[in-house]
């Protein structure tokens, strides 16, 4: 396992993705933080600066959006590299349990998320003062928000990686982003009265709702992150679907490794 993880980390550090991720994370966090530092909201002649949980909510929103993009790039371009084309038979022949492979990928991707979050907290401290982490810092809320962030991004990464393994990189990009977008649109529709009204008249939309309900709950992540930042509570029942999806996608990924001829670009 350690050898696999080490190898995947070397792969990550030697791809442009790593440096792209570093640069993009810096910019993506620095700009909104600088703006938040400069902006004062005026509400009914009251002046209010953006601070505390609100800033972390903005930061997690940026982290999730950026993380989603990185999950797609890592899942589509980095993960399948060793398991497709002219490398598949060499990888298959290694005497290593196939179930260890997705775990090593998950740990490697976790390092990317950790790196992203380190940049986020360092920049926050740099602009707002590191003493913000000492007193009144919502540590439990932040940890729970990170748990949601990690699970949802790992699920996204494995969704893209599994699709890329079975259908190829271009199809995985199109399919994965389509699934993600459909989940977001459905989440928006079904959360409104309009959605409930249309659903009562259309059997087709009821079917769409059933499909939406079994998809990973991407549209609810930020709501949960926001709720956890305000009032941390464990266990959160919303974690369950993420864990189930992570295990399910990991299992399908292992099937792709175990039966390489079922995957794309092998033969």
């Amino acid at each position: 396992m350690i050898a696999l993880w080490r190898h995947f980390l070397i792969h990550l550090f030697r791809t442009r993705l790593f440096y792209f991720c570093l640069g993009l994370s810096f910019l993506a966090f620095f700009i909104p933080l600088k703006l938040a530092d400069a902006i004062t909201i005026h509400v009914q002649e009251m002046e209010q600066a953006i601070t505390g949980e609100n800033i972390f909510l903005v930061l997690f929103f940026v982290a999730m959006s950026l993380g989603g993009f990185i999950a797609m790039v890592y899942g589509v371009w980095v993960v399948p590299y060793l398991h497709q084309g002219p490398r598949v038979f060499l990888s298959f022949g290694l005497p290593v349990a196939k179930w260890k492979v997705p775990i090593a990928y998950a740990l490697t991707f976790l390092c990317l998320i950790a790196l992203q979050n380190t940049i986020m907290f360092t920049l926050h401290g740099f602009l707002f003062g590191y003493e913000a982490y000492a007193e009144g810092f919502p540590i439990e809320g932040i940890l729970m928000a990170q748990l949601f962030q990690i699970l949802s991004l790992e699920v996204s990464m494995f969704m893209f990686a599994t699709l890329a393994l079975f259908f190829g990189r271009i199809a995985a990009t199109v399919l994965g982003t389509s699934i993600f977008t459909i989940a977001q649109i459905c989440g928006f529709i079904f959360a409104t009265d309009l959605g409930v009204e249309i659903q009562s008249k259309s059997a087709g939309l009821t079917l769409v709702r059933h499909v939406y309900e079994i998809l990973p709950p991407w549209d609810k992540v930020l709501v949960r992150v926001s709720a956890q930042l305000k009032d941390a509570s464990l266990p959160d029942p919303q974690l369950v679907p993420w864990v189930i999806w992570l295990l399910l996608l990991g299992a399908v990924f292992v099937i792709g490794l175990r039966f390489p001829l079922l995957t794309k670009g092998t033969d």
Binding site: Y81, R87, L90, L261
Partner: protein, 246 residues
């Protein structure tokens, strides 16, 4: 199939049929092969005859539609079987972001216990295969990549070698050197399954041959008897694949 385990048997393939895809394209039909410990078997056949499918079957990459396969007393693809096989596939490319030495170290980490023993084995292979240690694989020539694939198959002294077209891209001097290495490996009790179109090399290295024609075994027997009967492996091959004018 008998349930008794023959300890001297490396693998046995009994009446196996392999078919691919929804249309069930038959790649191998009613194939029966054996390899005893210390033996060396050459798989010969035209392109598309079913040699690579047979190798994939032994590695556990494909499952037979009909028939039974055992390798080292296990099902193909099981870890305890993979740990005893050194496999050099045809047309494979090692990960290009690594240096040759790093790739061998990665493979060795699954085959050799102990960092010191692993480092020693890696540097020995690098030296023997005359590979530069400080160059990334992406900068390797075709021949050097081929050497690296052979080196990773040989690392950790596996009990069996499966070499699929191992000589592609190698220069004549290195082919001679490799032959000596494989001969020494066989003398030390190793077993070999070789798929190659270089019939002169097959005749020098392998003690038995299986000629596959359109997915079926057309001939199986010792190299010596094939040479005795037909004059050479090349002539036996031409006879069994149906191109006697070759």
């Amino acid at each position: 199939m008998s349930s008794t385990v023959n300890v001297s048997e490396i693998f046995k393939i009994d009446d196996v049929t392999i078919a691919y895809g929804w249309r069930k394209f038959v790649a191998v039909e009613s194939l029966t092969l054996r390899l005893e410990k210390g033996g060396s078997l050459a798989l010969l056949g035209l392109n598309g005859a079913g040699k690579t499918s047979t190798i994939r079957l032994l590695m556990g990459m494909v499952r037979p539609q009909i028939g039974q396969v055992e390798i080292f007393g296990s099902r193909p693809g099981e870890l305890k079987a993979l740990a005893r096989i050194g496999f050099a596939p045809e047309d494979a490319t090692p990960p290009e972001y690594l240096k040759g030495e790093e790739y061998l170290d990665f493979v060795a980490s699954f085959r050799i216990k102990g960092k010191t023993a692993r480092s020693k084995a890696v540097s020995e292979q690098m030296q023997w295969f005359e590979m530069p240690s400080n160059r990334r694989i992406r900068d390797y020539s075709k021949g050097m990549r081929r050497k690296l694939i052979l080196a990773q198959a040989l690392i950790g002294d596996p009990e069996m070698l499966i070499l699929d077209e191992p000589l592609n891209g190698l220069d004549p001097l290195f082919i001679m050197k490799l032959r000596e290495r494989v001969e020494a490996y066989l003398k030390n009790g190793g077993s070999l399954l070789l798929s190659s179109h270089i019939l002169a090399e097959v005749e020098k290295v392998c003690t038995s041959v299986a000629i596959i024609r359109e997915g079926k075994v057309a001939y199986t027997g010792s190299s010596a008897s094939a040479v005795q009967q037909y004059g050479s492996i090349e002539k036996a091959f031409a006879h069994f694949v149906g191109r006697s004018e070759a």
